[in-house]
């Protein structure tokens, strides 16, 4: 085994790329859950974003338009979940699973003509000055635009939840919808907006897969990334920066295990391929053993104004 062949700078750089789709979807889902709604349809929204983003980018030649269309399409799809759970008071877990089915089916119907095509992809965008720094530069500042945007989004969500009135209202709705309603907030409307935002983020994550990370369209290409994103939100105890840590940790272990294999380590491959999941569990156990749980109190409960 020659671990010397693993270059830590490149490792960090590629884990950031590898984690970005999960990060985008997870930060959106975190906002949804903060509002007290559990949307298990992330996988379905991601793959819809992947196919729509790809199709639009191919037809217009612009990856930027692709991302925008992906966000919009997934957000619209998520509204079907919103209408069902918020107006028709359907069960959120089941509706989310239905959304996944719909997304998977819809995407492969839309995607048929785009199989095997190549699309324009995002160029790397080294940040001036920062990118030239030794070690840190190639690690953190020579990525494409979406990597920076995803981190900016985490920061924005953190600041938004913590410092703005909108964030306060969102959290209030998630903690106790009855109290928020009594205070005169439009619970349903706020939740719909959160769901819309979550859908848009999932769409961006999916489009990042099909336009940058892979880049191509193939049926079922998200291959469970949406589920990992859901798990990351729980892992993060509904805290934005921990979502970032969780996504990078998961992406990091995934990339690292492949690097260890490539370096010819003696560790059995089956344990290496389990490692991202086992390590996520382990870290979560350590966090929870310290006694902190941050689930919004109203998470997953239906709200009806005339209780």
């Amino acid at each position: 085994m020659d671990l010397g062949t693993i270059n830590p700078i490149l490792l960090v750089a590629s884990l950031m790329v590898s984690a970005t789709p999960i990060l985008l979807a997870a930060i959106g889902e975190m906002v949804v859950e903060k509002s007290g709604v559990l949307n298990l349809g992330v996988e379905g929204m991601m793959i819809t974003g992947a196919v729509v983003g790809f199709a639009v980018a191919v037809n217009t030649g612009s990856p930027g338009l692709g991302f925008a269309a992906a966000a919009l399409a997934s957000a619209l799809l998520s509204l079907s979940f919103g209408v069902l759970t918020q107006f028709l008071l359907s069960n959120q877990v089941a509706t989310g699973l239905g959304l996944t089915l719909v997304g998977l089916g819809l995407s492969s119907l839309i995607g048929k003509p785009y199989e095997g095509m190549k699309s324009p992809t995002l160029p790397d965008l080294p940040l001036p000055l920062l990118a030239d720094m030794p070690v840190i530069g190639p690690m953190l500042f020579q990525h494409d635009l979406m990597v920076y945007l995803s981190i900016a989004l985490v920061a924005a969500v953190w600041a938004g939840l913590k410092f703005t009135r909108a964030g306060l209202i969102l959290r209030a709705v998630g903690e106790s919808h009855d109290a928020a309603h009594a205070l005169g907030y439009k619970v349903v409307r706020i939740r719909l907006m959160a769901i819309f935002f979550g859908g848009a983020c999932s769409g961006l994550g999916g489009a990042y897969l099909s336009l940058v990370r892979v880049p191509q369209w193939t049926e079922g290409m998200t291959a469970g990334a949406g589920w990992i994103a859901l798990a990351i939100v729980v892992f993060a105890s509904w805290k934005p920066w921990r979502v970032l840590i969780g996504a990078y940790l998961f992406g990091g272990v995934t990339v690292l295990q492949l690097n260890l294999q490539a370096a010819g380590t003696r560790l059995p491959v089956e344990y290496l391929s389990m490692s991202p999941y086992l390590i996520t569990i382990l870290v979560l156990v350590i966090i929870s053993a310290r006694g902190y749980h941050g689930a919004p109190a109203s998470l997953g409960r239906p709200f009806h104004a005339s209780h």
């Binding site: 191509q216 193939t218 995934t254 990339v255 492949l258 491959v269």
Partner: protein, 358 residues
């Protein structure tokens, strides 16, 4: 007798009722696919074969297919329903369909079954597979010549004989032209997960590999290599010609069409017999995609010469002397591997590092 016989006879009665209804002029040809037809790799190429059958026979055939059929109970049902619907011949295109194919074939003695990549046959069950390792030999040769870092990355799917055979074949021929060459093998434990394949390719490239071979189906490794620059790849299952001339410098193409047409014709003529087919480059079941100009002329010539020698049956990629990984002799000087050992290959050849996971 036992419960099983009773079951079989009940099913038999059922089956006869089904096939009796399919007495018409057109031959009905069924296909069971393990993935979606748009996977761009394994299933996609079988689908191309089906389309070729339709094109070739026109009105004389009717084809049906079912995609994304999980192995096990679901596949047995899919085959049974296909047989009940009056199919005359059914191609089951995944190794995991082996026992279900045999089971269903027992119930429908008048329907012909063709199982890809398996080894169990019956009076109405043939098996067929392709000698992809012949193509791997050519890839290995090109890879050995082309690598400058002497490090070749290999993205493997599952530790099954088919994949191990490919690794051994590629390694032997890379080693022959470049004794310093080393293989890094990453087991992705998936046939198809674009994101993971991209990660695996990046990990290999970052560690100095400048040639990536893949035994997974998506084009993600091609894209990763293109982005990295200066890395060459080979198309897998389908040509992946979008990535030519660089990084994709050649490819192995599964070409099932000639075989499918041949077998359907045999059913029409009433000459169909159960047999085992394991074809390679010669009969055209394994195609070698165009070798691009990124490959130096003399290397290309050498590769094509090997291709011709293999096609003509003059050269076998597993010709001794070859030792197993632990140094024990496997093939003596000039000895050629027998098909039985190749079919169940579960060992690396000498020089490869690492262990086969199990």
């Amino acid at each position: 007798m036992n419960r099983r016989t009773l079951l079989a006879s009940a099913a038999l009665a059922l089956g006869l009722a089904g096939t009796a209804m399919a007495q018409d002029d057109t031959t009905k040809v069924g296909f069971i696919y393990v993935g979606p037809v748009g996977d761009g790799g394994w299933t996609y190429e079988h689908e191309q074969g089906r389309l070729a059958v339709e094109e070739h026979f026109g009105d004389k055939v009717e084809t049906v297919f079912q995609e994304s059929v999980p192995e096990g109970a679901d596949s047995e049902r899919a085959m049974t329903q296909m047989a009940l619907s009056g199919a005359d011949i059914i191609f089951t295109t995944s190794f995991g369909y082996m026992d279900p194919t045999i089971n269903v074939a027992k119930k429908f003695p008048d329907v012909k079954f063709e199982h890809a990549t398996g080894y169990k046959r019956a009076d109405n069950v043939s098996t067929y597979s392709a000698r992809f390792y012949e193509g791997r030999a050519i890839q290995g040769l090109i890879a050995g010549h082309m690598t400058e870092t002497n490090k070749i990355g290999y993205i493997a799917s599952f530790p099954i004989p088919e994949v191990i055979r490919g690794i051994n074949s590629a390694y032997l021929h890379a080693k022959e032209v470049n004794p310093d060459v080393e293989f890094s093998i990453v087991w992705a434990y998936t046939w198809f997960d674009p994101a993971k394949e991209a990660d695996a390719a990046n990990a290999l490239i970052e560690q100095g590999a400048d040639v990536i071979l893949q035994h997974t189906d998506s084009t993600a490794p091609q894209a990763a290599a293109e982005k990295a620059g200066n890395v060459i790849t080979f198309g897998q299952a389908s040509d992946m010609g979008d990535y030519a001339p660089m990084p994709r410098v050649s490819s192995i193409i599964d070409n099932w069409a000639p075989y499918y047409i041949d077998r359907v014709q045999a059913v029409m003529d009433g000459t169909w017999e159960s047999k085992d087919t394991w074809d390679g480059i010669g009969p055209g079941m394994v195609g070698i995609g165009e070798i691009t100009d990124a490959v130096p002329e003399e290397v290309k010539a050498e590769a094509l010469a090997m291709k011709d020698a293999i096609a003509a049956g003059e050269y076998h990629p597993f010709t001794g002397p070859i030792n197993k990984q632990d140094g024990t002799p496997w093939l003596a000087e000039g000895e050629v591997a027998d098909d039985g050992t190749l079919a169940g290959m579960d060992f690396y050849v000498e020089g490869l590092t690492g262990e086969i996971p199990n």
